[in-house]
Symmetry: C2
Subunit: 227 residues, 2 copies
DNA sequence: CGGTCCGTTGACTCACTTCAACAGTAGTGG
DNA sequence: CCACTACTGTTGAAGTGAGTCAACGGACCG
């Protein structure tokens, strides 16, 4: 979502809400009554197998709207939860929907946002379906680095507000194997992990390890609204 | 996309185009100039690894709009190809975009369509990330059966316009292993394959094998536009 | 009749899982 | 201040689901 649109959304009336980590925001089958703009923290969308096994299908970070799609499809088909203490700015669903109805350009911006989200899912399908465990972890780190870079002034370094179990649930791996892959990335010299941060030491190497090209993220991409 | 909206789209000026199987429709990085409504056949969206390995990220069947998202984001981030001889009805991108700009309700319908597509991707992520090979194949068959049922008058039987290699590329499996899983499904008594058709003999069993619930497809779902 | 594509099956290999154990840190309560 | 618990990260050893490699039959087609 572009900077301009994000500011429009912030100008809508809403409520700030602080939530602990590992808390459900919306549950399967409920109706979403408000759209959540993330101020700080991480919200993950997930699906669940009968055996309780989870699969995260998206991560939302500061500046993302975690359930924008609910503006037009309020019944929750994928629940949301926080992965860490998170602050949201919640706007009534009707406010968003009415604004989109009045302003075609805003509607288009929201539509774009949902399309981009779908393209990220498609990219995840590619890496999870065809990538090795090492490539999956490297790819996720690349994606997060790019997305955090777009919203902060730091570059090549980002806060990892996920446990290795979270990463495994996003990549279709076990936490144990994620641990081994992170170690391998560290030993290869492409990244460094300290505290809650990942620092990228060798972008070229990490991109190659993750077969990453960031074009699908559409960050600062003027062509998104191209006519 | 609802029946009503599909009829609106069909009323737009466009061109019918017949294409052979295994042909590219749009290539990576190109600009999409027309939106394709599928009249007959199958179009697959895919991503590709550097080693040439493919991963299908969506299948579009009769009545689907294969690249509706291009109305707002014309630069192709996932190429499209046919899996079998296919007929398209192609509408100029500007026609779709302008119609959405003039009619908020049509814009919302298109937006819904893109959201549903994203939810299907999320469901694929769940099955591919966490399901066994057998569950993945069973799940795909369930999904296709439901989607074909919604657009035809046959039930429990659908045309499989994909090779086992295509299925493998969609599910992150090899064609060899897909073959083994299809056989296992056949031997379990849940399905029957003959010619180009899959017949479902035991829905309950197949659903369980694929851990399938069809709610994410939003077929005949009045709540999609719920206010 | 030969070539190509698709489905099919068998034998072997390997990437990732599973199971298990342990260390560091933080929070909690006696 | 020190147990006690819980969570996360870490590492090792053993098991297995899916991949790889290879071969063959049938259908279709030029």
């Amino acid at each position: 979502m572009s900077e301009v649109d994000r500011n429009i959304v912030r100008s809508f009336p809403g409520t700030v809400r602080a939530i602990e980590g590992s808390r459900d925001i919306v549950r399967l089958g409920e109706r979403t009554e408000h759209i959540s703009l993330i101020v700080e923290g991480v919200v993950a969308r997930f699906g669940q197998m009968a055996d309780g096994n989870r699969q995260f299908t998206a991560f939302f970070i500061s500046g993302d709207m975690a359930d924008l799609h609910a503006a037009v499809m309020p019944v929750v088909s994928s629940p949301l939860q926080t992965t860490c203490p998170t602050t949201l700015y919640q706007i009534d669903r009707a406010v968003i929907r009415d604004a989109a109805e009045r302003s075609p350009s805003l509607a288009q911006a929201f539509w774009c946002d949902c399309v981009t989200e779908g393209q990220i899912s498609a990219e995840w399908l590619l890496t999870i379906g065809r990538g090795t465990a090492l490539a999956r972890v490297a790819h996720l780190f690349c994606e997060l680095a790019c997305r955090y870079e777009a919203i902060s002034d730091e570059s090549g370094r980002f806060p990892l507000l996920l446990t290795q179990a979270h990463i495994g649930d996003a990549l279709g791996l076990t936490a144990v194997h994620v641990n081994r892959m992170v170690r391998q990335l560290r030993e290869s010299g492409s990244i460094l992990t300290e505290n809650e941060y990942v620092t990228i030491l060798d972008w070229t190497l990490l991109r190659r390890q993750g077969a990453f090209t960031g074009s699908y993220l559409h960050l600062n991409d003027p062509s998104r609204n191209g006519s």
